[in-house]
Subunit: 534 residues, 2 copies
């Protein structure tokens, strides 16, 4: 028997309509590419989004059309979000830091019919242009181009956002593609609305009409973790930094816009700290930041501590993936942690966190058997839920779910009795030694805690007896003198004996990927026979 409630699709346009009606005067502040500070609100942003949508329709954009953006966080990019998705077209947000080869690949793979770009990407677009046959229109997000379009498109009082199936595609993001070509993840209106509803919850991002949200996380990075939608839903103020991610700009925005909540990658917070140190600033006096979310990679303990002590702010670890919309877990403390000493609280904050309602997590062994939540068992992390990928765009990579419908994250993790997830390693980087798993990340972190080591990479290398054994590659700090024996002695008091690398080699540099990670695939190929021949 079916219930008898109204059958209304969950559409992204409903969030904009809610914002226009209930939060019309709430600030949306952009630091533009041109270097100005631009202030608007949901009333105007809604009206401009409708005008943009009308222009898009007149220029052939409709349900299922693909529209690309190469753009920073500004109100114009936000207008594209709502205009394109509101029509039922698909917004393909592109990471401008990808290589030109990858950029061409994904724009062609997506078959974008239009490309909107911030003016400072004009040289990049000029370079790519001839290789993008599907793109019929290039539009710069500046006064000449984008604003002329809007100026020439008056508001149509009869314009209404169309209604359609909530499973319709809304946006497209590509994974970074460290191995092979990037793969697209095609979000739906349903997955986006459900994800946004959870992201706002008190134990997640805790967004309300009293929040001022600084989105350092780019609008091209997995829908800025859903935060633009959360702002529309809740009436939180939005602060968009454009391309200005340096410590001084971020600090000034936090101060001037009374930011309570900021989301970004740890690197950005590190730049903020450097600026504070250089200028001798007092964040606790200047700012009212309560929460800094760190995602994308793990925040170091010192960062957690510094936000606590110097800002009076909580560093909230969040973990997810492009394939997860992105949110999977967040690391809030539990009531039982309230009276812990700070050091022990930081221990907990170091973990990735606990699952958000809607996301199911499990860790499994190599045979797919489910492992216990005991904080010890390490297994491949599998995820499932209504905002998790079913298959990649155009079926790239084939079937990606297991028999239970779970997606393999490619990570190895533990889950403790309280449900806190801790990432151990990428599963392709973990070293499988005689049936046991050794974390390359743990070994690398230990190695770089040596005062003479600047950088370290640990890879699994084929071994006659143990299947794989760890090989460590180290880059010394300038002027440091460290030997193989020094390193082994240093490590042996810090890791389990069977984790000790079979070999430590010193190199001048390590190869890096476009996203700043060590290119381990290359290292594994280069050193594949290093232990067999020994």
């Amino acid at each position: 028997m079916l219930g008898q409630m109204q059958d209304q699709p969950l559409l992204i346009s409903s969030m904009l309509e809610h914002a226009e009606r209930y939060h019309p005067d709430v600030d949306i502040v952009s630091h533009t590419v041109e270097g100005t500070v631009h202030r608007t609100n949901w009333r105007d942003l809604g009206a401009r989004s409708r005008r943009l949508a009308a222009w898009l329709v007149r220029n052939g954009v409709g349900q299922g059309s693909m529209v690309g953006t190469l753009a920073w966080n500004t109100h114009r990019h936000l207008e594209l979000y709502f205009a394109v998705m509101g029509l039922g077209a698909v917004l393909h947000t592109i990471n401008p830091r990808l290589s030109p080869e990858h950029l061409s690949f994904i724009i062609n793979d997506a078959e974008d019919s239009m490309l909107f770009y911030d003016a400072n990407f004009a040289p990049l677009v000029a370079q790519l242009k001839d290789g993008l046959p599907t793109v019929q229109r290039f539009c710069a997000l500046n006064a000449d181009d984008y604003e002329s379009i809007l100026a020439a498109t008056p508001e149509d009082p009869l314009f209404r956002w169309p209604k359609f199936d909530e499973r319709s595609a809304s946006s497209l993001c590509y994974t970074s593609g460290t191995t092979g070509n990037p793969k697209g993840v095609l979000y739906s209106h349903r997955s986006t609305v459900l994800h946004s509803m959870m992201v706002g919850m008190p134990d997640l991002m805790n967004a309300s009409a009293n929040s001022s949200l600084l989105l350092v996380v780019p609008l091209f990075h997995v829908n800025a973790w859903g935060l633009p939608y959360v702002a529309a839903m809740t009436g939180a103020k939005l602060v968009l930094p454009g391309p200005h991610l340096d410590g001084n700009s971020i600090y000034q925005m936090m101060k001037n816009e009374r930011v309570t909540f900021a989301a970004g990658v740890p690197t950005v917070w590190q730049m903020l700290f450097q600026h504070i140190d250089a200028k001798g600033l007092d964040p606790r006096a200047d700012l009212c930041l309560r929460t800094a979310v760190a995602g994308g990679s793990a925040a170091p303990r010192a960062m957690i501590e510094r936000f606590d002590r110097e800002f009076g702010a909580f560093l909230l670890h969040a973990w997810g993936m492009t394939e997860m919309s992105p949110l999977g877990v967040v690391c809030q403390l539990l009531p039982k942690h309230a009276n812990l000493p700070a050091e022990q609280r930081y221990d907990i904050q170091m973990k990735q966190g606990r699952a958000v309602y809607g996301v199911q997590l499990r860790i499994v062994d190599e045979d797919g058997a489910i492992l216990p939540h005991d904080g010890v068992a390490r297994g491949r992390l599998m995820v499932s839920g209504p905002w998790i990928v079913d298959r990649y765009f155009k079926g790239a990579g084939g079937d990606i779910l297991d028999a239970d419908g779970f997606f393999d994250t490619g990570d190895v993790a533990t889950i403790d009795a309280d449900g806190y997830l801790t990432l151990v390693d990428r599963s392709k980087d973990v070293i499988k030694s005689g049936g046991e798993w050794i974390s390359s990340i743990d070994l690398e972190n230990t190695a770089v805690s040596h005062p003479g080591i600047a950088l370290a990479a640990v890879i699994g290398v084929a071994h006659a007896k143990w299947q794989e054994r760890p090989l460590m590659l180290c880059v010394k700090k300038p002027g440091a003198s460290v030997t193989r024996e020094d390193m082994l002695a240093f490590l042996s008091s810090r890791v389990a004996k069977w984790w000790l690398p079979d070999e430590v080699l010193f190199v001048d540099t390590l190869p890096m990927t476009a996203t700043g990670k060590i290119y381990k695939l290359g290292l594994r190929q280069q050193y594949k026979d290093a232990l067999l021949s020994a």
Copy 2:
């Protein structure tokens, strides 16, 4: 083009599974019918719900089966929630305060196949039993009956909650039916999950793992406003008062269980105040209540003020209907209200509130034209959204949506420029005088502010020239001496001149409905010719 995210139904069982996995040790405290305090948690409640479900299946309950409850707020009633709905059967929660005639009607209309009842309703059940042909099994929620069933049903390790269409029916509530027979509202898993996700948000009920929720609102009253689900989703502690709604019991629970949030009708808060006065208690010292939600009817200004001054708690007005799952609007303050003097804050808190994301509201005139949000225009309040009724159970009342898919709430309201809704009157009670609307409620509230008036009712009565004019019926306080002329003089300085009743009559009593409201339908029939003959 469809998105490519996992197609997973939103099912109520997923909230219980989340609670078992991530909040296993969180307290669920019940004050039982037997007078004891019972403590359990999600681990045990989940296990018992599965055992109960297994027993239900063995006894013929499956998808679409109807299971009735006549029960207070206890862990056992909560187990029935999750066991019955988790199976895809429908939980029909029955208001035991209805008349025996209405109880028989709705149990027969729902075709309940089982009826679970708290032991103190045994005499009522005995009285009704012979007139309930569809009910094949009656089960008392006590040690002999309910606990014996569970004791005889061991946990089946292979038991899994079934997966089915999220639009499947989950629970059934009947409207109070002041006119004609009660009508059923059949909620779905989808509507319930979406509603619960919004209810937890910071600007709504703000539920987190740090909350302790006291559910004075009954589990038979529109799913206790979704709060049991919110607790499962967020890990908030649940405090269930059983039948103990007196001031002393509520105060003790608030104190002993460190309640931060309590939801109920204003009558309950009035009883709490009386207890505090009688005992000379100090709520600010004893309690840690932060929010008291008042729903069901409007809270008086004095109540808002008293929660603020004496408890340091915010009285949060919430308004909705059985037909709305129930939540439509909540009355949070906006950031711009933060520095208002208390008296002006109370003015805002008196309103019903602003729409929750997901609920669309409009006010329309008698021709269906949409009226402005100016705080002045009064119109019929129409609502739409994914947790709002599409049609009544078994089609009772026929088509109930307008051409745009909006449901007529039967209320007359204003909406101001900030989006705050204020209810003016029930549309059937509003007096239509020469094309203008006069609020019967406003006139009644003014009348009872006269020191000699205990109770007042105002009805619209047919009038030759003006279509309708107000007639006022007053019950004097014992010993008071008030004349018709006194009342008219009193009113004339307080309401618009054209609102003044054409007649004021004094009566000894006013007829009341089962739910404690003045029976205006009866009064209108009785006095229908009162002004025509004048």
